[in-house]
Structures are given as C-alpha cells and as structure tokens.
C-alpha cells in the first residue's frame, strides 16, 4: 500500500475529498450531535457523502472520524455516549462501502484524525502521554478496520501533531500524512500557538510523516503563498485543503459566497505552487471537488 500511494503521487496530482460537517448538517445533523455519532446512528447519510465525493472525482476519501479520540468525544454528551473503537471502525467501514458500491478502482481510504481540542500547558493541561494514548487508541481502531493511509489534520500545535504521528506509527506502517493549520498574520503564516511552517517541515518528516501540508483556517486564495513557502523549503510530498472562503450570514443562515469555479482556479495555482495533492475543507462540497477535478483533468 505504501508503495502504491507513493507511485500515485509521483505520477499525478491526487485529489482528496472536501468538507463533511456541513454536508451532514444539510442532511439534518442536529445541535449538540457530534458528526461522528452518525457513523453509527445514520450510516447511510455518511456513506452518501462519501459516494458523492467519489462521484465528484475524489481519489482519497477521509473517514468521518475527525473528532473520534476519547479526549475529544469526552467533551460532549453526544460524544461521551460513543465507543471509540466502534465509531472509528464504523467510519472506516462506511468509506469501504461507498468505494465498493461505486465500483471504482484506485480509491483510497484515509483514516482521519483531528486534534483533541485540548491544549498543552500553559494554555491547557493536556499531557504528552494522554495525547499519545488517545491517538494510539484511535489509530489502532482505524488500522484494524483496514484504512489505506492515515490523515492527521488541522493541527495547531506541533507537539500534538507529533503525538498523533507517534500514536499512528506505534500501530501501523501505512502512509501517514500530517496537515497543520495556519493563520495568515502580517508577519507570515503562524499556527494558533505560534508554530511556523518551517518548524513542521523540519520536525514532521523526521518523525515519520510521508506527506505534509496544511488545511482549514485559510481560504483557497490565502493558501497559495503558504504552498510556495512549503515547496521552497522541502522536497517532501505536499497536500493542501483550503476552506471555501468564509461564511457570511444571510437571514440567519451561513452562506458560502465563493463559487466552486473560483475555488478550483485558486487550487490550480496551489498545484502550480508545488502541491502534490489537493482537496477541500470547511464549506467545500462535492461541487467544489468536481470543479477541481475538471481543472486537473482538462487543465493539463
């Protein structure tokens, strides 16, 4: 599998999928329900989203397990009711199901791992051991359920990214991707706790990441310079998944004003800046991924 994925990214720009949360909200996910709970309570709705992204041309599909560590689940009543192993296993199973039903080959299942939502000192009281234990537990469940690779994403603290990476590495030899999340500040790109891209570029591959990059926080346009910064500093394969602009409120409902075509044009520039793989994050839908797919196929 590792060889297969390496071969894939060597020969083409690989297309990942887009946002899950907003799709589930559109399907009726209620206030106070964690999205991962639907892996067990509304599996067909989750599988439908995966199927829509496969139809749109995505080749790597992320499991609906972003918040499925015990630390993150413990933060809500809806999450506390879930069993870590069951919710992760179901998450992987739903991508497998969508892949089989599509009849398509060359689709990869990415076991998705997001941050615990807690902070290391001085901001919070998270310990390296608790983080590592939680990530290892999630990774073990995803590994047992047969994911093809791991995608650690939206990491705002390099220490937590490393804990997740080590947790995965302790239970799996599959490819691991790590995406950090950065804000654009007057002085450059920084994470919430002040990590620079340079730090991730230095630390993550050394810790065993096969691919690195960034997702969330930034809109597609704001991410282009970040891609150049990464590419100028490393030869490691790169993945970027920007947000679809910022939502604006209209009659009490969030509206994403950015059109899929605009997003796709920015993503073309992200590819030219050196990305080996692209996809979407918050606010992106199968229409966005489809537009990117058209650009990637017809644009070259």
């Amino acid at each position: 599998m590792k060889r297969m994925f390496e071969e894939l990214i060597r020969h083409k720009v690989v297309l990942f999928d887009g946002g899950m949360g907003s799709m589930l909200i559109a399907a009726g996910l209620g206030e106070g329900e964690v999205p991962e709970s639907w892996n067990l309570s509304r599996p067909e709705a989750v599988a439908d989203v995966h199927a829509a992204y496969i139809d749109a041309g995505a080749e790597v599909i992320q499991t609906n397990t972003f918040g499925a560590t015990r630390l993150k689940l413990a933060a809500s009543a809806s999450g506390r009711a879930l069993d870590v192993t069951a919710v992760n296993a179901a998450g992987a199973e739903l991508v497998h199901r969508a892949r089989e039903e599509s009849g398509r080959s060359g689709i990869f299942v990415a076991g998705d791992i997001g941050p615990t939502g807690q902070f290391f000192p001085p901001v919070g009281i998270l310990t390296e051991k608790d983080a590592l234990d939680a990530f290892r537990e999630q990774a073990k469940a995803l590994e047992a359920a047969g994911v093809d690779l791991f995608l650690i994403e939206t990491m705002y603290d390099i220490r937590e990214a490393v804990a997740a990476l080590r947790g995965v590495r302790e239970v799996s030899s599959r490819p691991v991707i790590v995406e950090q999340t950065f804000e654009k500040k007057p002085r450059g790109y920084f994470s919430l706790v002040g990590d620079t891209p340079a730090r991730g570029i230095e630390v993550l591959p050394a810790e065993g990441a096969d691919m690195i990059g960034a997702n969330c926080t930034l809109s597609s346009g704001d991410m282009i310079d970040l891609v150049s910064e990464f590419r100028n500093a490393t030869a490691v394969p790169l993945l970027f998944q920007p947000n679809a602009g910022n939502p604006e409120m209209e009659h009490g409902n969030p509206v994403y004003r950015q059109r899929p075509e605009e997003f796709a044009r920015d993503v073309e520039r992200i590819v030219r800046a050196g990305a080996n793989a692209v996809g979407g994050c918050c606010g992106t839908t199968p229409a966005f991924i489809s537009a990117v797919h058209d650009c990637l196929v017809h644009g070259r």
């Binding site: 909200i25 996910l29 206030e31 007057p186």
Partner: protein, 216 residues
C-alpha cells in the same frame, strides 16, 4: 517609582506570574496608590500583550501567560482597593459561556481570561450552556453583560434565543448582550438585536470597556 511600574508591565509582558505577584506585593508594601500601580504598571503590560497578539508577534501561550500574570498581580492588589476610594475598579460584571449544543471552549475561555485580566468580574459558565442558565446567572450576580460564544453555524441561533429570552422577561434594557465566535459578525449581532460583536479577545475587552466599562 517609575522604574517599578515598568517592571510591573515587563513582568506581565514576559508572562512571569511569580515576578508579577512579587512586584505587586512590593508596591503595596511601599504604599503606592493601588489604582496607579494597576494603571501605570500592570495594565500597560497587558495592553502591550494585546497589541502584540493582534499584530501577530506573540501567540496563544504568551497571551494566556500574560493574562495569568495580570490576574496574580490583581489578586494581590485587590484587597487594598476594596473599601477604598478605588472600589469602583471592577469594570463590570460579565456572564460568559458557549451556547448549548456547542462544546468549543477555547475562544470563550480566552475572552474570559482577558476580560478578567482587564478588571472585569467574570462568571464563566463553560461550554454547552442552556439559554436559561445565562439568564439565571445574570440575575444572580446582577450582571451588566452576557457574552455568548458560538463556533458553529448550527448553534449560533442560540445567541438569538438568549436575546429573545431577555426581552420576554423585560430584562433586555438592564443587560447588554455581546456575541463572538467564528461564524459571527457585527452584522449578525445587529440582526439578532445584540449590542456588539468582537472578533477576538483583545477586541472583546475594547468592546466591553465601551459598553459597560467604568472609567480607567
């Protein structure tokens, strides 16, 4: 004396709680006017922390450590203020929380910390807070303001429900309402009839000083 004030500001800027506490004690032992120690010393430090945060020159850990140092110093100085001519130093009472259905705690806690560091009295209800809890707590502590965080487009309507509930109880005139969180905006605040919106913790301090601040 000026030098001591500079050291006070420096301790907050460095996020050095132990040093801030020690300097506050020293200032009290030297019988310096408490309000002046706060305003010319520690507040200068926390303002600089806020400025550097907005500029992107320091980040969450430094912001939190600066606010903690500020709180430590304030805890030492507060007894000297109470009963004295400076008793009005409390900027205002604020009930803060993340609305029900929403477990995002980080931004809200940060706003609470910065408000507290800037002299506001804070009742932090945590996350996933029902509409009723905001109202009960506001009544209990005779709050000047309710600050509601929502990080999800699915939960932000809860902010409106708090405003509506205050209206129903004829409490709306007595309590200001401010909102924050990623999907919120000044337009959203206006649409739901809230009194204001802030995009980050430093902005929230500015907003509340304008709305309910008592001098200083």
């Amino acid at each position: 004396m000026n030098n001591l004030y500079e050291e006070c500001a420096g301790a907050v800027l460095a996020g050095d709680s132990a040093r801030a506490e020690e300097l506050a004690r020293k200032a009290m032992e030297e019988k310096l006017p408490p309000l002046e120690v706060i305003e010319k010393g520690f507040v200068k430090g926390i303002k600089e922390v806020g400025r550097l945060w907005e500029e992107g020159s320091l980040f969450l850990p430094e912001l939190v450590m600066g606010a903690e140092a500020m709180k430590k110093a304030m805890a030492v100085i507060r007894p000297a203020l109470e009963g004295g001519e400076d008793a009005s130093n409390v900027q205002g009472r604020v009930v803060i929380g993340t609305i029900e259905g929403d477990i995002h705690d980080i931004g809200k806690t940060l706003v609470a910390t910065m408000l507290s560091a800037n002299g506001f009295e804070i009742a932090d209800l945590g996350a996933d807070v029902p509409v009723e809890r905001f109202i009960e707590e506001a009544q209990r502590i005779d709050a000047d303001c309710i600050a509601i965080s929502a990080l999800l487009t699915t939960t932000m309507n809860g902010q409106k429900r708090v405003v509506d509930a205050l209206e129903e109880r004829s409490m709306r005139q007595a309590v200001k309402v401010v909102v924050g969180g990623a999907p919120c905006s000044a337009e959203w605040a206006e649409e739901i009839g809230a009194d204001g919106y802030a995009g980050d913790a430093v902005g929230a301090v500015r907003l509340l000083k304008g709305l309910i601040g008592r001098g200083a």
